[in-house]
Structures are given as structure tokens and as C-alpha cells.
């Protein structure tokens, strides 16, 4: 039997396949589609301090091989997540989950992280720093190694849970940001978040998305994500979750060979709700074809 297990900061996952934040809700809908306990883990929708309705609609645009979203971090707020969603999840998901945390100020990240400390269900906190910093004129925390490190250090101080900083691809050097986060105490890195993208409705001569610009993801971005995982894996020692355009078992293998310890599947869940199950079923076959006995052995071997 093929060994698909991987270990992320001491957390052993049965396999490296993890639905990405924002594409799996809290798992409640998916648990009716298939037994989600087959997953390595899952990462739930990004949570902020206050409840947020998010951006105006349309929030979705289609692209060749992908989609643009502009949800604007709609979520019920960290209190409701801790008091309602986490207990709900406990009823149908028996493994540790990954909590994705967003924020518009350093203190918001800290607040949300502290709120999660008491939940044994939360195995990893993923910190989504691709949000505008309202205290610095709206510059994105993820665009500058300094602000990225600032958030990392602040969150590090308030939790003993493993923290993964989720990086943005919309930067000149993702390895600079990655190294700054590592130095500031990150246990791991998640990359990548969405690329900035847009589409125009040629009949209306205006952007499809109400907010004009949104986050582009799906199969189309895989080569961009892969090169960032590859470069970052060479630049840091902490583990990486590879994210971006993953849709097949083959993509999982490429991501791991590039240096990812686990792999998240995002937009593909929305078009094919069974994709994670399909990947988990396909992986052992592909491993056999490639003579891979332990999946963990291939992490970074293309470096």
C-alpha cells in the first residue's frame, strides 16, 4: 500500500490533499457530497474580527482556465466561527482543521489568532496577509517583507499553534517576503494566494466584477504557483503548502517535487466538487507508475 502521509510541523496528515480557504466553506456542504474525512485536512474560509458581508456583486468572472473572485472576505466573524462553526465542524470532521485568518490591521490578526488558541480542533493557523493594511494607506501586508514580518511576529507572540503565513504572488520577490516571515517566526508558508486579474464585459464596456479587479485562480495559474514554490523552497527551511491551479494528482506530484510538503486545492473544488476525492484516489496509482513508495520522499527532489 502506497504511503501518502506527510508531516507538517508535527501534524501528521494521511495525505497531502487539503481544500484551500474560501473554496470549501466550513465543509458542511461537501460532507454531503463525499466522506470528507478522507482529506489530509481542510482549510476553512478566511475569518476576520467582525462579521463581514464582503464586496458588492458581481463577485465572479470566468476566464480561460480559471476564474476571478472578489468575495471581500465575507464571513460571520471570529466569534461566530469559534462558537458555532467549529462545534459544527467537530460533528462531521474528525481531524485537525486549518483555520484561515484575515485582517486589516496587525491587531486584528492578533485578536483572531488568540481567539483560536483554545480550540484543540485547530491544528494550524494560516495567516492570510493578502489584505490591505488600513493603517498604512491600504498597502497590502503581503507586498512588503517588513509588514509581512510584522504580522508574523505579532501572531507568533500570541500562539503556540503552528502558524503558516499565506503569501501573495503579486510581488517582485516572493522569496524576500518568505525569508522575512521565516525569520519572524513562521512555522511554515502557504503559497500562493490569487493573482490580481480582471475581465471586461464588452457589451457593457465595463469590468465584470463590481470591484473592477479581483483574484485570479484556477488551472491557469499553476505554472506561476509552481515556480514560486520551487524558488521559495530553495530559500527557506520551513515547510510549504503549495497552492494554485492544482486540479490533478499529477499537479500534486509536481508541487511536492518542487518542494511543497502539502498541497491545497482551490477553485477546482467549485467546478468539480469531487476533485479532492478524485485526486486522493488517483495518487496511489500515479505513485505506483512512478515507483514512488513514500510520497514524503519526493518533497523537493526536483530542486
Amino acid at each position: 500500500m502506497a504511503d501518502m502521509s506527510v508531516t507538517l510541523c508535527g501534524l501528521r496528515l494521511d495525505n497531502p490533499v487539503i481544500p484551500a480557504s474560501g473554496t470549501f466553506g466550513y465543509g458542511a456542504e461537501f460532507k454531503d457530497f463525499y466522506d470528507i474525512n478522507i482529506l489530509g485536512s481542510f482549510c476553512f474560509k478566511g475569518t476576520t474580527k467582525e462579521p463581514r458581508f464582503g464586496n458588492p456583486t458581481p463577485r465572479i468572472a470566468e476566464c480561460s482556465g480559471g476564474m476571478i473572485n472578489s468575495i471581500g472576505l465575507q464571513n460571520p466573524g471570529i466569534e461566530a466561527v469559534v462558537s458555532e462553526e467549529l462545534p459544527n465542524i467537530a460533528a462531521y470532521f474528525k481531524k485537525p482543521v486549518i483555520a484561515n485568518v484575515g485582517g486589516y490591521s496587525v491587531s486584528e490578526f492578533v485578536y483572531c489568532t488568540e481567539m483560536l488558541n483554545a480550540s484543540p480542533q485547530v491544528g494550524i493557523i494560516e495567516v492570510n496577509i493578502s489584505c490591505p493594511n488600513i493603517h498604512r494607506g491600504g498597502a497590502n501586508f503581503a507586498s512588503d517583507p517588513k509588514t509581512a514580518a510584522e504580522v508574523t511576529a505579532a501572531v507568533r507572540r500570541v500562539t503556540k499553534k503552528p502558524i503558516f503565513i499565506k503569501l501573495s504572488p503579486n510581488v517582485t520577490s516572493i522569496t524576500d517576503v518568505a525569508k522575512a516571515c521565516e525569520e519572524a517566526g513562521a512555522d511554515g508558508l502557504s503559497l500562493i494566494n490569487t493573482l490580481l486579474g480582471m475581465r471586461i464585459d464588452i457589451r457593457k464596456a465595463r469590468p465584470v466584477i463590481a470591484n473592477k479587479i479581483g483574484g485570479f485562480s484556477g488551472r491557469a495559474i499553476f505554472p506561476v504557483a509552481l515556480r514560486m514554490v520551487y524558488d521559495t523552497a530553495a530559500a527557506v527551511r520551513i515547510p510549504i503548502m503549495g497552492i494554485g491551479g492544482v486540479a490533478t494528482a499529477r499537479d500534486v506530484i509536481e508541487m511536492m517535487m518542487a518542494g511543497a510538503t502539502a498541497v491545497q486545492v482551490g477553485a477546482e473544488n467549485l467546478r468539480n466538487p469531487f476533485v479532492c476525492r478524485e485526486i486522493i484516489e488517483e495518487l496511489p496509482k500515479l505513485m505506483a507508475e512512478l515507483n514512488i513508495e513514500r510520497l514524503a520522499d519526493i518533497i523537493g527532489i526536483a530542486q
Binding site: D32, F53, G54, T57, I60, M67, N69, I71, P273
Partner: protein, 245 residues
Amino acid sequence: MNQVIFDIITNEKIAKDVYKLVLYGDTSGITAPGQFVNIALDGFFLRRPLSVCDWDLSLLTLIYKTVGDGTKALSEMKRGSLDILTGLGNGFDTELCGANPLLIGGGAGVPPMYGLCKRLREMGAAPTVVIGFNGAEDVFYYEEFEKLGALTAVGTADGSFGIRGFVTDVIRALDLSYSGYCACGPEPMLKAVAEELPHIKGQLSFEERMACGFGVCMGCSCKTKYGSKRICKDGPVLKSDEVVW
């Protein structure tokens, strides 16, 4: 929600840019009229949501207008199979309609009214149907509604078929009283209908750009008087008294 592979039985033009698609497969996921299905199309990343027009144990009828590349590609598929997620959304609550409900459909919003009308007739109700189009060449399903035994009135914006004007003009011309109403069509039409019938309990079916169609992405959120709802999961049908216009 079920994922089902359907076989195409027929896919024919029934009006200007409008096609009727009849599919063979497992329809057990569909539980109410006004629900929708989400269709995967080769070469397109997102599925295309279409309302259930009619269904029985193994046949599913959809009616769609070709508006962009996806629906155009669909209209060219004359045989083969389609990967479809079925039974999405809440659908219309037939229990809330009463004995003599009014059903209003505008353009591409007409199809779900057919399945609804059929169920209501089976339940013994006497629905009145008002459907609106731009012109005579756009009209479809007028006779089908009549065959169900529903009083059916058609309005066209240019007056080339039925009564000249919008569905609200037709409603005014009929001047009947109703136990409730159900409507599907462009948002300005839904708003006009709700304003026209302020004292009647209504159910309105909304459209929004969707990614998943089954409630996880928050792409289709809509503010209501009772908080945020997902058009794909908590809708597409909202009650008239919860809608924030």
C-alpha cells in the same frame, strides 16, 4: 445535490436564440420547481446554471437563451452527454402559493414557471400565468402553459404578440385577485412586480454570477432583511417580504 451524467435527447431551437434541451438521466436530486442545475461545458472553467423547466423520473427539460460563448457552445451540442449537478437551490414553495396563484415569467425567466405551474395544477390549484417577451419572435411555451389548463396571458414590449407592454401591464389588464405570486425574470421586472403586488405574498427567483452554485464560495451573496443569503443555496427564490431592493 447530485452529480449526474445526462444523455442529450433533443436540443432544438424554439424561439429566437432560445433552445429547449431534453436530457435523459437520474433526476432524483430535483425536489422542487424553481431549483436549478449547473452544467459543465468542455473548454469552460465554470459551470452554467439553468433553471429546471420540467422533469419526471428520467427526463429533464431545460430552456435556455444563447447569450454568450457558453450557451452558444451548448446550443451546438446535438448529441453526447453532459456532466450536470442537479437539485441546486431551494425552489418555489408550492405550499405558500394558495389556490389561485399568479405565476410571472420574463424572457429566460419563463422556464421554471412551467414546472411550477405543472406541480400546482397537480395539487389542484388554479394558477394564472403571465409571461413577457420583447417581441413575437421571442415568445415560447405559450401553448404549453395553456395545455396545462392555466389561464395564460402574454405581453410583448413591442406589442407584436399578446398585450403590448411589460408583465406589469398585463397584470393590470387582467385585474384579477390572487392567493400569492411567483416570479422569475430580470431584476427590474422582479422589482416592478413586487411594487405592483405589494399586498400579496410573493416568491421571487433571482440570478447572480456564480462560481460553485452549491453554497461554499460566497460568490452570489445578497443582502436581505434577515441577513446575507446565498442566491445559489438559500435562493434562488426569496420571499417578497425579505428582499432589499
